[in-house]
């Protein structure tokens, strides 16, 4: 599909849309999201095949130490669960819910000796402007455990470095504005979590309704069983 990756296109695109300001809006009310329900027994690991949805395109990001890191290095050689977040997200069914779900999965993975060294989590900040390496380093401490688990928190050097990553993963992000046109501290994005195999291919995607920990754990084990 058509993509505008260049910064010039980005800025021009934004400006070209500014004419929409003042359009009478509908009385839309997105309402509160609801937590996922699970009213079934998850299929056993290895009893099904996960689809090969897409390959992850490489990019250069920043780790929590401020070092450049290739995204491909974070999506290969291990089974990876990748999600997007921002450190000041306050939506209880947004980023905090995703990270709470991941923390629970982390503990289950650590408790399985066949998985503990074969799985990593990656959390990519949606706001490189605020979420500097230092900020995400502090944020990540909440999820630190001993013995260590491979959970990387990364950001980007600048917004244009992040845009191709968001585009590749289909993450549409916008900044909520107040009535005076000032940015609020809310980013609109659809919560998605990506399960990536050790060859860098997305094999499952979880939106809020599908964040069912038992299913996710079995999916991880299913990928582990593919390679023995």
């Amino acid at each position: 599909m058509h993509r505008i990756g260049a910064l010039a296109g980005f800025v021009a695109g934004v400006l070209s849309l500014s004419g929409l300001a003042g359009v009478a809006g509908a009385a839309t009310d997105p309402g509160k999201a609801t937590a996922p329900r699970m009213e079934f027994v998850a299929p056993p690991p290895g009893s099904y095949k996960l689809q090969k949805i897409q390959r992850v395109t490489d990019a250069i990001l920043l780790d929590s130490s401020g070092r450049s890191v290739r995204l491909s290095a974070l999506t290969h050689r291990k089974i990876t669960l990748l999600t997007f977040f921002y450190t000041y997200c306050a939506d209880p069914l947004g980023c905090p819910f995703a990270h709470t779900t991941l923390a629970g999965l982390r503990d289950r993975v650590r408790g399985d000796h066949t998985l503990a060294e074969r799985v990593r989590f990656v959390s990519v900040s949606l706001d490189p402007t605020h979420d500097t390496p230092g900020v995400i380093a502090g944020y990540s401490k909440e999820f630190a455990v001993e013995p260590k688990f491979d959970w990387r928190f990364v950001t980007a050097r600048r917004v244009p470095d992040l845009l191709p990553v968001l585009d590749d993963f289909g993450q549409d992000v916008s900044v909520e504005m107040d009535e005076n046109g000032h940015a609020t501290r809310t980013l609109h994005h659809m919560l998605k979590m990506f399960l990536i195999d050790a060859r860098g291919e997305v094999r499952e995607i979880y939106t809020l309704s599908y964040l069912q920990p038992q299913v996710m754990f079995n999916d991880i084990k299913t990928l582990a069983l593919e390679t023995g």
Partner: protein, 438 residues
Amino acid sequence: MKFDSRLILSFCIAAIMSVAIASHADETCNSPYMSGLIKGQEDFVHVWTLGVPGMGDGSDKLVTIDANPASKTYGEVIHKISVGGRGEAHHMGFTDDRKYIWAGGLDDSKIYVFDVGTSPSHPKLVKTIDNLPAKSGFIGPHTFYALPGRMLIGNLSNAADKGGVTGMAVYNNKGDFIARYDMPASVIKQVKGDGYGYDIAVNPAKNALLTSSFAGWNNYMRDLGELMKDSEAMKHFGNTMVMWNLKTMEPEQVLAVPGAPLEIRWALAAGQDWAITATALTSQLWLVSRDAQGAWQAKDVAAIGDPAKIPLPVDISISADAKGLWVNTFMDGTTRYFDLTDPEHPRQTYSKHTGSQVNMVSQSWDGRRVYVTSSLLSKWDKQGKDNEQFLRAFHWDGHELTPAFEIDFTKEQLGRPHHMKFTANPPRVASLTGASVR
């Protein structure tokens, strides 16, 4: 040239007041477990419209109508985009983020991807997918049902003999083919599958995917009068529904539902445990629910009109609380309302003749507005003066449908209107991702 990201972001935020996301669904009928439902007034109705030779440009097109009473162009066609051909435009569906609409042609099997999120008043055609037959062996893409990052497509036919044996195809949101799944033709739990397909409906809390069955290209692209006289051809309609394991994509149970079960709607509220459909040829509402042992069962729970007259129920629209159901019957041009408070015993409580022929029916999330279109299929629509082609919008106060506005698709030289989707103007947000298009 170097750019400072903070400066860029600040600049962009300051520069704009309103941009970005938000396209929304036929609120109560498509992927309602996903985000961004319109709980209030919809701004636009998009109508996937069949081209008619000699009418306008003769092409299939996406027609956008202003549906907000507060707008100066309320009730008017404000945009149309032709796809440059006539391929039997039929159904469409939103992507998971509701930014794009995928729309299919039952004859040419092409799939068109429209960006309705960037500027819902002015959709743009951003991609055409033409490899469905080559990649899957299926033709006649009907239902487009969003899964996370993917589109699950329910097809009607196959490329080999153009009969009703078919299956589902999966594409990622970039438009790349991923997988195909045959509709079952074997016996599963005492019922033999017919291999036919039609609608798709997912209940993620139950890991359940329910499908229905209709007919192949040989039937749906044939003149209806001729078809109904051909007793052999009339045998080639679906008589089953299938309950799939969504995670494994394996069929787990075939349900006998004679008479071409069409649209499927789940009651998705917590504590609800059922789905409903209508059979076109036998004119019945069928309930799919669990029995005392937890197994799925299908049973006919109400007649729609007089089945002996074959009123041909063609579309249903369930209310947000699953307490009511609109049903359109094509032959008698009637829009009916059923009380679903007891889904085991639906009761028709209202009906209105809304046109000489009526097909799709869509209601707003709050149930206060009901939209009806007229066209079924190019070869099945009525002839002469009964070949009305319209979108009619109504207010619904719980007792009476009151006309709100109407678009005469023949007078406007647009074609035959079929499936509808709602969108709303974006909220007050600034774009972070700019003009990125998937």
